[in-house]
Each structure stands twice: as C-alpha cells, then as structure tokens.
Amino acid sequence: MTDATIHSRPSRSTSSRAGRIALRTLLYVFLIGFALFYLMPLFVMLTTSLKSLDEIRTGSLVALPRDVTFEAWRTAWSGACTGIRCEGLKPYLLNSLMIAIPGVALSTLFGAMNGYVFAQWKFRGANVLFALLLFGCFIPFQVVLLPMARVLGILNLAGTIPGLIFVHTVYGLGFTTLFFRNYYVTIPMELVRAAKIDGAGFFRIFWSIFLPLSLPIIVVTVIWQFTQIWNDFLFGVSFSQAGTQPVTVALNNIVNSTTGVKEYNVDMAAAILAALPTLLVYVVAGKYFIRGLTAGSVKG
C-alpha cells in the first residue's frame, strides 16, 4: 500500500521527506537546547571550582577559568570549616560511605527476602502486610522523626552511624520489598515447588535459586537505595551529632557557616565532591538500571 503510493506520487514523497528532515532538525535543536540548559549549572560549578576567588570576583560567571587552580578542591577536601572544625569534607564523605554501604546492603538484602516471601510463600494476611509496607513508601518522613528519635534513644543508637544505618534500612524496606516482590512474582511458582521436592528449604531456595536470578533487580535497588541514602539530609541532620554527620549535612554547614568572604569556588568543589559518588554509580550501573526496570519474567 505505502509502496504503491510512493511510486505513483514521487513529488509528494520528496516533499514529505523534506518535511521529515525539517522535523528531525527541529527535534535535535530542541533536545540539544534542553541538554545545554540542564548542563549549564554543572558547567558553572565546574568552572567556578577551578577559579581563584579573585577571578570569581572580577570575571563573568560563565567564563572559562583563566588560571586553572585546584586550591578550592584541596580546601573542600581537607580544609574547609564546618562550624568550628576545619577538616574539609573528607571525614564526612567517609561517614556517608559508612552509612550508605551497609544501609544499601542491608535494605537490599532484607528487601529481597521480603519480596521473596510476599511473591512465593503466600501466608495468611500477606496482602494486608504488603499494603502496610507500601504505605511506608509514601509516608512523609517528617512524621516519623520524633518516634524514630525515641526508638534510637531506647536502642542506644542516638547520634551514631549504626543508628543512621538502622534508620535508612528501615525506611528503605518499603521500596526494596516492592522492587523485589514485583520481580519475583514473575517467576513461576513451580520453581519453588520443584526445589521443595528436591529437598531445599526456605533459605536454600532463596540463596541458590532466587538470588542468582536477581542481578537486574539488585542493580536497580542498589542504585535507588544508594541515591536515597547518599542524598538524604533530613535523617542525617536529625539523627547525627558532631563527628557522625553525613556529607550532605557537612556540605550545608560549609556553605552556610563561612564567616567573612563567601568562598564560592570551595562551595562548588564541595558540592561536586558530595554528588560525585551517586554520579559514579549511575555511570557504572545505569545501563543495568534501565534494563532492570524493564526486565520481565524469567524464562525457565
């Protein structure tokens, strides 16, 4: 049909091709425009962080640095002051890592196990429990600050890094469970039955059969959880004390507590430093993220 039309009306086909090219061009112009718009702040941050304070004061915001200096980066890393201490972001980056890595690992592991139970080991009240867990995904975190502070106090974890790990694990469970459950419901029930007959128990089936199947959804969950925990400010500022603050809180303190001259270059370098790990995770695992989100059932 289409072929015949094209053959009998060459003139129209040429004009429609021209139209298509014009549309394509317009599309690219738009997309590149948007990309630039989004990349602009990053560009400004990067260039500013590489300038000296003098140059910032005298030059234009969007100009490239005349003399590239890493002084601001060095200060942000190990010299910038957060309140009274002037050790830079380094110790706080470390704090964030010490919170995020166990937090991500635990919430992912427990989420996987929860999802496995909800998807494959139906029990009385499972649906109600799952609904409640989902509710936990959408609860505004401000609501839980006070009760959680109390719980941390009782557990003797107030102001500690394990305390923050605990908080992030608990509040991550809603989403991690949802991810894994939705992934595991696509796996045929007969797989568990076959394994039961083979003599495997609850944990054996999980470790030997379900976890090895789960790479795509593990990647999704890890990226999600890492981003959530790393970027968290509210829990970090509420449940930490001097010395255990995550990098987001420290960054805020650096930017806000500078007395005298505002060191924009240091602020920018610090902000980039604080954002770098999440960026890295996306770059390394982003491909799997998309794949995992769209991953369907597992063919046996």
Binding site: P188, E190, L191, R193, A194, A195, K196, I197, D198, G199, A200, R204, S208, I209, P212, L213, V298, K299, G300
Partner: protein, 363 residues
C-alpha cells in the same frame, strides 16, 4: 503386595470451595496411573496433594506403606516433573540434575556417577553444560525428566509434562515415557487432559470431573464399559455415539427402538439378559458400526440408514447419519461405497452396546 500409593477419603478445599471430594485410589508397584479429566477438574491439585505441596483437608495418603499425610514433600520419596519444567534458570543442566543430591549431602563421586547414568539414559550428555534458556522445549523436557530419574524415588509424579510440546514431539516423548516406565518398572502417577495420552500410557486410569472420580479402571475397561455418560463422552475420539432409545422387554432380551426423522424407527434386538428401564441412552463406539458385510459376530444386526455426510480420514472413512435426533458416526473402511444423501445398509454390533440412564432434563 502392598500398594505403592494409597489415597483414602481425600478431601481438599480452598477456603469454602471444595476442590476434591472423597478421592479413593490405590496403585500397585509398577502401575502407571493416569489422572485424566477436563481442565479445572482438580487433577493438578490431587497430584500436588500426593506430593505434599498442598495440605489436604481430610483423608490420608500412604506412600510405600508409610503414612505420608503430614510429611513434607522432600521426605515423601517422590520425584515430580512439572508442566513448565521448572528448571532452575541460572544453573547448568548438570547442576539442575544434581541439585537435589547436593542439597541432601550426597558425595560428589556418587553425584557424578548418577548424573552420567541418567544423562546417558536420556541422551542429554552434550547438553550438560548448557543453561535451560539455551535448550529447546523437548530438551528441557528431557532435563526435567532427568532431574526426577536421578532421585530414584518410590513414586514418579508427572503434571501434564507433554502439553507444552508440539504435536510430533509429544507423540515421540509419549513413546519414550512409556519405554522408560517399562524399563524402570517404576510406579508413576501422570496427569493429563488428553484422553489419548491416558489410553496409550496407563495401566490404570482415573477419570475425574469436578473434583469427583467418575471411574477407575484399566484403559480397556474405561473404553469398553464406561461407567457413565461423562466417561463415555470424554474417552475416545471420535466420541462414543450416545443415542436416545426406547426399550421393550422381549423374552429374556430387549427390543431397542430408535426414532428417525422421515423414516420408520430403527429397531434392534439386544439378546443379553439385562435389566433396562423404558428410556435409555444407547452408547455405541463408531468402530462398532460398520458397513454391512464387513462385520461378523453373533450380535451384529443390519439396518438401512440414510447417510448424511461422508468424511474420509485416510485409513478410515467416517460416515454420519441421523439417529434418535443425534449425529451418529460410523467408522467404515477407506474404500466404502457410502455416498452422502444415499441410503446404506449398516451393521450394528449389539454386543458392544453400553446403556446409560438418560440425563434428567433440568429446569
């Protein structure tokens, strides 16, 4: 000999819905029991109950003389092949087959020996290092069988293992399963909705409908003397002719009268000493109606019928005519002279007739 599987008064409900009602079946060692019935009649549920994958609501299950009613699946001395094969997707074929032994702590040497034995038996040696995703349907089927064989259980359970294969492969695998059963002398319970599969494989058939057993018997018993209209209609292809008829006592035998449109009633004599009511459904298989002169027997009776339709099917030709308000199919030889619209003398073998009480018309 003690039965290898003995199910007594088994009931199974999901919530308020009763799925299986008062199931009683026993099989001897070496039996090939086929559970057959339409989709949704509870065959898989019964098999899962035998496996211990579903708890039962009442009754008892004995396997190999032991009460297994409350025993977990792994300790029932069974192996199961699933409809979807249920192979472990991330494990190689070899790992799939040895997983059960590994879980049970069988030593590596024994595992390797058993794997080699089963792989040779099923001719899957070249596949051992592949993943299930890299196998064809038939190959997956073999691996699933291998996983069961390696257990060497008291009882094999199969849940429609051939239903995902194409027609040709299905027939091949059917023969192979039969051979396997013969060679192993193993006891098997096999679920299918395909009555031909049931007839070819079984030493004993259980026909089910709506969670109730309709008949238990050898394939020949089920085929020749169906217990009720459902079994008569379900087993056999083309289906048994079920013709409404009126009956009159005639000496020790009966005079059977079948109404016809635009013709005198068809009258046949059944000389067997039966006890029949006035109205019956007469069941006669297509192969028990032949062309006159092609069937011999003391109870073969001839009558002229109008041929409605002629359907050649290679080896046989099916001829349809209207009797008692039903399309009645006769299975004739391929070179029959029957022509649609023409009368023809047919031979009815009254010795093969089964009688059923008419279905009461509800409403």
């Amino acid at each position: 000999m003690a039965p290898i599987l003995d199910i007594k008064n088994l009931y199974k409900s999901y919530g308020a819905t009763e799925i299986l009602k008062d199931i009683n079946v026993a099989i001897e060692p070496g039996d090939f029991l086929v559970l057959v019935g339409p989709s949704g009649c509870g065959k898989s549920t019964l098999l899962n109950c035998i496996a211990g994958l579903e708890p039962i609501s009442g009754g008892a299950i004995h396997i190999n003389g032991k009460d297994m009613t409350d025993v977990s699946p792994k300790d029932r001395d069974i192996a199961m092949v699933f409809q979807s094969y249920a192979l472990y997707p991330t494990m190689t074929v070899a790992k799939n087959i040895t997983f059960g032994m590994k879980v049970r702590g069988v030593d590596a040497a024994t595992q390797a020996a058993k794997l080699a034995e089963v792989a040779a038996q099923l001719q899957i040696e070249p596949l051992l290092n592949r993943r299930p995703g890299q196998l064809s349907g038939g190959q997956r089927q073999r691996v699933a069988m291998g996983r069961a064989l390696v257990r060497d259980p008291a009882l094999f359970l199969f849940d429609e293992p051939l239903s995902n294969l194409d027609a040709k492969l299905r027939v091949e695998m059917r023969t192979e399963i039969k051979k396997l059963h013969h060679n192993l002398g193993a006891s098997m319970v096999y679920v299918t909705h395909d009555q031909i599969e049931a007839m070819t494989l079984a030493t004993k058939i259980v026909v089910m409908k709506g969670g109730v057993i309709q008949q238990i018997g050898t394939p020949a018993e089920i085929y020749n003397t169906p217990a009720n209209l459902f079994v008569a209609d379900f087993m056999g292809s083309p289906a048994m002719n079920l013709i409404p008829a009126r009956v009159q006592q005639n000496g020790t035998g009966h005079r059977i009268e079948i109404q016809r449109v635009d013709a005198e009633p068809l009258v046949l004599e059944d000389h067997r000493p039966l006890n029949l009511p006035g109205n019956v459904i007469m069941g006669l298989r297509p192969e028990d109606i032949a062309e006159a002169g092609f069937r011999a027997g003391a109870e073969v009776q001839e009558a002229t019928c109008l041929v409605d339709m002629v359907e050649p099917a290679g080896a046989d030709t099916y001829v349809v005519s209207q009797l008692g308000g039903k399309q009645v199919t006769a299975r004739l030889h391929a070179e029959t002279s029957a022509r649609a619209g023409q009368p023809m003398v047919m031979a009815f073998d009254l010795a093969k007739v089964s009688y059923f009480a008419p279905r009461r018309v509800s409403g």
